[in-house]
Structure formats: C-alpha cells, structure tokens
C-alpha cells in the first residue's frame, strides 16, 4: 500500500476541526484553527506531519493565556506547549486592533513550535486589510514551501498578496522593523526570535511592487482545492486518530439516543 495519499483540502479542514478538539481545544478555537491547517498543508506542505510531531506537546488541559502586554501596542506570547493554531488567531486580533487604530502593532512569539502555520495567520490579517510582517532571526519561516526569514502579507486588489520582504508604506513601520532588528534575544526563549508586526490599511505598499509568481500562495491554495494534496499516510491517519478521540463509545444507550 502506497505511503502517499491524495487528500482533499476540505477533508483536511473538516477532520482537523475535530482532531484539534481531540487535542483539547475548545470548539470556538478549533473552528478558527482548522482552516489554518488545510491552508498550511496546501501552501506550505508538511502541516499534518508537523501537527503529528507536536501533538504530544500541545495535548492536554489548557492553562490561562500566557500573554503579557509590553506597551500600548506590543504583546508577548509564550508559546511553550501551545500551538500557533490556538494562540495565533487572538494574536492576529490584537494586531488588527492596533493597526486599525493607527498604530504599528507587534506580537513577540516565544518558543514557537509550529511556524508552518504563520502564512495562514498572516492571510487572516491581509483579508481584513491589514499588512502583517513576520520577522525571524533564523530562516525558519515557510512561504509557499520556501524557507524565508521574513513573511509579508497584505491586501491586494483581488485578495491577499505575499512576499518575503518587510517593506511597509510608512516611516513608523520601518522604524519598528529597525528596532526589532537591533534587539537581543529575550531571556527565557530558545534563542530564536519571532515577531509579528502589523500596519494600517492605508500604509500598505503598492501591490505592483510584489512579484506574484514567486509567492502566489492564493493560486497555490486554489490549485490544491481543485487537485488535492499529497499527504503521507501516517500523517493523515494520525489526524483521523485524533478525531476519533472525540467519538463516544458504543452502548445500547448511545444507540437509542438517550430515548430508551
């Protein structure tokens, strides 16, 4: 039996919702996270593998959010034992809030386990009209399956656009990027630094500066929706195993739907 399988993008998001619940995420969290899984598998590749690898680390009861506010528009998230799938969307919400109120928003992510999901998170911001840049001290980010150290998403005329630069349209944003580049790694982190910076819709660069062919993530996603994705059998099986955690055992009572 072949080890690589053809999988539908919608199949990934449908099963992922329940798989993430099987990992302990609440419905409202898993509902936001599931499309990030299918996006990452389609655009970056290897998302289900990464989810399988980190499942033991992110499985278990939830504690209070490990978030601190550093300044008016800057927050810090300790991601130890947590997935970007879970804490990433609220981080994007904070950045959206900052950008829409005219500030350069910033979220520092410490001890990130799964940066493969970053382009999907950036897409949420871009669809809201926000420009978002992910900066990393190590080339550990993935954009359309290529390793990059900067990941930039912003709103184009027909949908989100992606690039590997950090070119905003306002001096405040350039200053924020420069400030980030001059900072040392914070204590208590794994040494690598990863931050998300967001800017307001009216400060975005001209979209014709972007070379769409190189990082045409939307086209890649659309192609995957039409043609499916290739996934290692054990990665897909793991996703289904997580989903089955949420299924209740068979019993006479179960069969009679509590109406016996």
């Amino acid at each position: 039996m072949t080890s690589v399988m053809d999988v539908g993008v919608s199949e990934v998001s449908r099963v992922a919702l329940w798989a993430l619940r099987g990992l302990g995420m609440a419905f409202g969290v898993a509902d936001r996270a599931a499309p990030l899984v299918s996006w990452a598998e389609a655009v970056e590749g290897g998302a289900l593998r990464r989810l399988r690898e980190i499942s033991p680390q992110i499985d278990g009861p939830r504690s209070d959010p490990r978030r601190s506010q550093v300044s008016d528009a800057t927050w810090r998230f300790d991601m130890s034992g947590r997935s970007l799938l879970e804490l990433g969307p609220p981080a994007i919400d904070l950045l959206t809030m900052a950008a829409r109120t005219g500030k350069v928003g910033r979220v520092d992510l410490l001890n990130t386990l799964d940066p493969i999901f970053l382009s999907g998170l950036a897409r949420i911001a871009a669809r809201r009209g926000i420009g978002l840049v992910a900066l990393s001290t190590a080339p550990q980010l993935s954009l359309c399956g290529q390793q990059v150290s900067r990941l930039h998403a912003f709103a184009g005329p027909k949908g989100p656009l992606f690039s590997d630069d950090a070119v905003g349209g306002a001096p405040e944003f350039d200053e924020a990027v420069a400030a980030w580049e001059s900072e040392p790694s914070p204590a208590g982190s794994d040494g690598a630094r990863l931050s998300l910076l967001a800017y307001a819709p009216d400060q975005q660069p001209m979209s014709d500066l972007v070379e769409p062919a190189r990082f045409d993530a939307e086209r890649k996603f659309a192609f995957a929706q039409a043609h499916g994705v290739k996934v290692e059998r054990r990665d897909l099986e793991h996703l289904y195993e997580l989903e089955i955690r949420t299924w209740a055992p068979t019993s006479d009572r179960s069969r009679t739907q509590a109406l016996a």
Partner: protein, 587 residues
C-alpha cells in the same frame, strides 16, 4: 419592526413591477412566526428549493445523458457507464451494482454500513478515460471502505440501496411482462434510496471550492442533487436490465412509472448540527422564501387570470398527490388524506373569490382555518405562481450562503453590545437554568462517527459535544462581556477567552440579518430534531417528509421529474406534484 434586506434583494424588488420594497418588508413574517422549530417543520418545498433549482437549470440548458454501457445480470450484479453533456462541460458517471445481501431486504443502513451498499456510483468532474474508468471500478468494486480512496477528479460518490419494500416486486413484474401493480408502487416512491453524496473533499474527492467557477454544478448543493438524480437513472436501468436478464418476455418500466419514482432519502439528526453551524445558510434560505411569499401575498389575481388558474391547477395536483402518496408513518405529521381534504376545501374557497383582494387575505383565512402544513402548501404554491420574481430572488442564494463571519477586534465591548448583541433579545432572555432546558447534547458515536443525542450527566463525552447550543453560546458571550468595562476592545476579550471568537463573529455578522437564528432551544428535553430535519429537507426540495420517530425522517426527492429523454418535451419545467398524474391513474 422592518427586516433589513440585503442590497441584492432590494434591487430585485425594484426591478419587478408590483409591490414596493416597503410593502414587502411590512408583509414579511417575523421570526417568531416562521423560524420556530414547529413552524419550520411545516414548511414545504418551493421553486427556490435546491432540487427544483437544479432541475430547472438542467431543463433550460438541455443537459443530456447518454448510456454508454449497461451490463447487469439477473441478480443485479454489474456495471453502468453514462456520459453527461452540460454544454461547455462533460462528465462521466459510472456505477457498480451488487446482488442483494442474503436475508430480509434492508435499506436502513446509515453510515455504519460503510461501502456495503447495493449500488456505488462515481461522478467524475470531467470525462474519464477508459483506463481511469477501469481503475475506478477496481477501487469501488471490493466495497472495502478501508481501502477506498477517491481522487480529485471525482466530484462525488453516490452510494445507494434498493427499496426494501418494492424493488424485488418491480423486477418480478417486469420480468413477467407487465408493469408493477398500483398497490406495489404505492408502498414506495422510489426504487433506490440514496446513502448520501460522498463529496467536497471526503475520502479524497475534489473540494467544492476547487470546482471551476463556471461549472454548472458549482452552485450550492447542485453536485449533491445531481448525484442523487443519477441514482434514479441507475434504478430504472437496473430493474429493466435485471428483468430482461431473467425473462425473454420482460418489459421495460413505463415512462409514467419512471417519472413517478424519485430517489429515496432518509435523514438523521446530524442535519440539525449543520443547520446550527451555518446561520448564514439558514438565514438565506428562510429570507428568500419569506421575501417571495410576502410579495406574492401582496399580489391581486383577478378571476380568470393566468396566475389564479395556475394556482388552482397546482392545488388540484397537490390534493391528488397527498391523496395518493401514502407515507410509512403519520404519527408526527398531518395525515396526507386530511391535507388532501383541506386542499380541496381551499380550492373551493379560491374558486368562490371575486379576485379583488390580495392573496394575503386568502392566506390568512387558510392559516386561521386549517393546520400549518396545509397553510404552508398554499404558501409554497403562491411563490410558484410568480416564477419570474422567485427565479430572480434565487440568484441571491449562493451569495447569502457565502457570507464570511468575522468580528472587528478594535470595536469596544460597549459598542458591540449596543450595536449587535442587543439584537439578540429573544436568545438572551431564554431561561436555561432548568435541567430540562439543557437536557441533551449531540456527539459523534464510535460507530463511524454517526451523530447521536446524549443526555447530560448520564451519557459520556459531553466535553466533545457538537455545536448545537446557540443560546448557550450567546448567553456565555453576554455574561463574559458583562465583566469588562465598556471601553475594552473586543480583541482583549477574545485574547482572554479565545473560544469566544466564534460567537462574537456570529453575532457581528448576523445581528442585522433577517431570520438570523432558529427560534428554539435544541438542547431542550422537548425539542424534536425531526422538526429541523423536515425543514432542511424542504429546502432540499422533498415534497413530503414523514418522521418515523423524532430523529429520523424519510422522504423522496425528484418525484415527478420527467424521465431524462423527455426533458426536451413540452411543459417539461412544469413537474411539481406531477408524479401521480404521470401514472394516468385517479387518486
């Protein structure tokens, strides 16, 4: 209070002469009159229903079906290959048929059956090569669900089962050189019952967003219902081929019977979960229906007008339909014979009218005199007699269903409460404190993930319950917001409680839309899932649905739809309730 309407519907109202937008808005029923579970249960299929929309498109565009191969033995084992021409696109459909399982015929299989079905079909997105067809037959032939995987060139799989009540009798009659007797066909409206449409990414099929934008099956639910309609063709070809293989004097099923039979369906309580999950679907489906109904009620049709004649004709057909079609159970519905009687009284009343009053007067009289099901049949037919308007409104269905939910993280808690949450007065005022109000929860069973309903405290896995509790979600959102100062941005609330993003987005997206939520508590001890299942099936286009119990609802779709070779004949688009008259028998 006037219901706010989307811009698309405003423009449609302006395009059509007759009642103005304000009048239509005033006539639209409020949610408490048409969005409660009981009211939803009474609603009937209209020309806005998905199978009717699909059928109209098929007929208008002249889609053709060609049999490439029908190779079936006397036991019903074999294969069928068809080609479909949509115009710009072509597709291949293949089906493998299997002999009946030994023992008592059983079509009540559910998801637990896996691939163990009498029929398994594959609808390809495009034309499949001979090699690809052979590969797919090898894939589905063994009926091993653990090894079966589709590819992205497959639009969907169509599992089906023979009608346990009549299939064998129909084959026996045809093999004997005669048409099946009326008492046989009255026992079932179908030869094949569908086992779902395995699609949109499931088992490796193409994801619906990946279907080309101009493909005729791109429209919501068109692929699903087209797949089901193909099972109807398989059923007719299967009985004809089996009869021919058994006897030299076999005859083929008459055109009348081929038209009479639809495709069987049986739906369970999982549909309630889908209905709750997507409020923009629910809202859209109810909105287009109520919008068309409100305008129709404002119309005046003088005696002798085409509209009045058409309405009487449809009412007569409906009475004939309800007289003839005998459901397996009438424990939870208005008996068909009573509906038929009522409709004949309605016809008499409409005939006596002088035609000077708008239809609203007639509709109000019917609602006051008869049961809700009779009244909703009349309402559905009112929509039918103004087809141009309804067909224009139908163009909004894919638009409304595609609304994306989101919330504004920068908005303050105070503004969120004032501008959006305050529109949920009914939902927030429901008392959920009593144990009866939160008695049940929905969950997936270990038996192939079937949706089940459990009882809190007693049944396990409550922490993995499916989302069904919109009242609880909204009340929790409101309660948590109460703990924050008004000026707090919603992003801070969601950062503290990430699970609230779902409810916040639902509220902000839907608050100002008509019919935004089901007006009922699905967790309540007394809630009947069958109410919402019946509503869903009416949106699909099933004319008559009859719960066998409060959580399982059979019915038939495409009853009366012309046999494929007759799609180009006269009056081809006029098939509502025509299944009985197609038999040439009096009810």
């Amino acid at each position: 209070m006037k219901l706010a309407l989307p811009e698309e519907l405003v423009r449609i109202a302006e395009r059509h002469p007759g009642p103005g937008l304000v009048e239509i808005q005033d006539m639209m029923r409020p949610s408490e009159a048409c969005a409660t579970p009981a009211a939803l249960s009474a609603q009937k299929a209209t020309r806005l229903s998905f199978s009717q929309l699909l059928a109209r498109r098929m007929i208008d565009e002249g889609w053709t079906l060609t049999r490439q191969e029908v190779d079936i033995n006397a036991e019903g084992c074999g294969r069928l290959i068809y080609e479909i021409d949509f115009g710009k696109y072509q597709s291949t459909y293949i089906a493998q048929t299997f002999p009946a399982a030994p023992g008592v015929p059983n079509e009540n299989l559910g998801r637990r059956a896996g691939a163990n079905r009498d029929v398994w079909g594959t609808l390809f997105l495009g034309k499949a090569s001979a090699a690809r067809i052979a590969e797919e037959f090898a894939n589905i032939g063994p009926r091993d669900i653990t090894t079966m995987r589709a590819r992205a060139d497959v639009l969907g799989w169509t599992p089906g089962s023979r009608s346990a009540r009549i299939f064998d009798d129909v084959v026996a009659a045809l093999a004997d050189g005669r048409q099946p007797a009326q008492e046989v066909i009255r026992r079932s409206g179908y030869l094949i019952r569908n086992g779902g449409f395995v699609a949109s990414g499931r088992m490796g099929t193409i994801s619906y967003p990946g279907i080309p934008a101009d493909h005729p099956l791109k429209h919501p639910y068109f692929a699903d219902f087209f797949g089901l309609l193909l099972l109807r063709e398989v059923g007719v070809d299967l009985v004809n081929a089996m009869a021919a293989a058994r006897s030299e004097r076999a005859v083929s099923l008459s055109d009348g019977l081929a038209t009479f039979f639809g495709v069987g369906n049986a739906s369970g309580q999982g549909m309630c979960v889908a209905l709750q999950r997507w409020p923009q679907w629910f809202s859209t489906w109810l909105l287009v229906r109520e919008f068309c109904l409100a305008r129709a009620k404002l119309m005046i049709a003088p005696v002798g007008s085409a509209e009045r004649r058409r309405l009487i004709d449809l009412l007569e057909r409906a009475a004939e339909y309800y007289d003839f079609v005998t459901p397996d159970s009438e424990a939870f519905v208005v008996p068909h014979k009573l509906i038929a009687e009522n409709l004949r009284l309605v016809i008499r009343s409409v005939r006596k009218e002088d035609g000077s009053e708008p239809w609203a007067v007639t509709a109000a009289g019917i609602a006051a005199t008869f049961d809700a099901e009779t009244a909703e049949i009349f309402n559905a037919l009112l929509i039918e007699i103004y087809p141009d308007f309804a067909d224009d409104v139908a163009s909004y269905i894919p638009v409304g269903m595609a609304i994306q939910q989101d919330y504004a993280p920068e908005r303050s808690v105070g503004a969120f409460r004032r501008d959006f949450l305050s529109d949920y007065r009914w939902e927030l005022s429901q008392d959920l404190g009593h144990s009866d109000a939160r008695r049940h929860f929905w969950y997936h069973s270990i038996e192939n993930g079937e949706q089940r309903r459990g009882e809190r405290v007693i049944d396990p896995h409550e922490h993995f319950e499916s989302f069904i509790d919109h009242l609880g979600a909204l009340q929790r959102l409101a309660a948590i917001l109460a703990g924050y100062p008004d000026e707090t941005p919603m992003a801070i609330v969601v950062a503290d409680h990430p699970e609230l993003a779902f409810a916040a987005a639902r509220v902000e997206t839907m608050a100002h839309r008509p019919y935004k939520e089901i007006q009922g508590n699905l967790l309540h001890k007394d809630f009947s899932p069958a109410h919402l299942i019946r509503f869903f099936l009416s949106v699909f286009g099933l004319e008559s649905t009859y719960p066998m119990n409060i959580r399982w609802v059979p019915g038939v779709v495409f009853q009366g739809f012309p046999a494929w070779r007759r799609l180009e004949g006269p009056a081809r688009n006029d098939w509502k309730y025509k299944n009985v008259s197609s038999l040439g028998v009096a009810a």
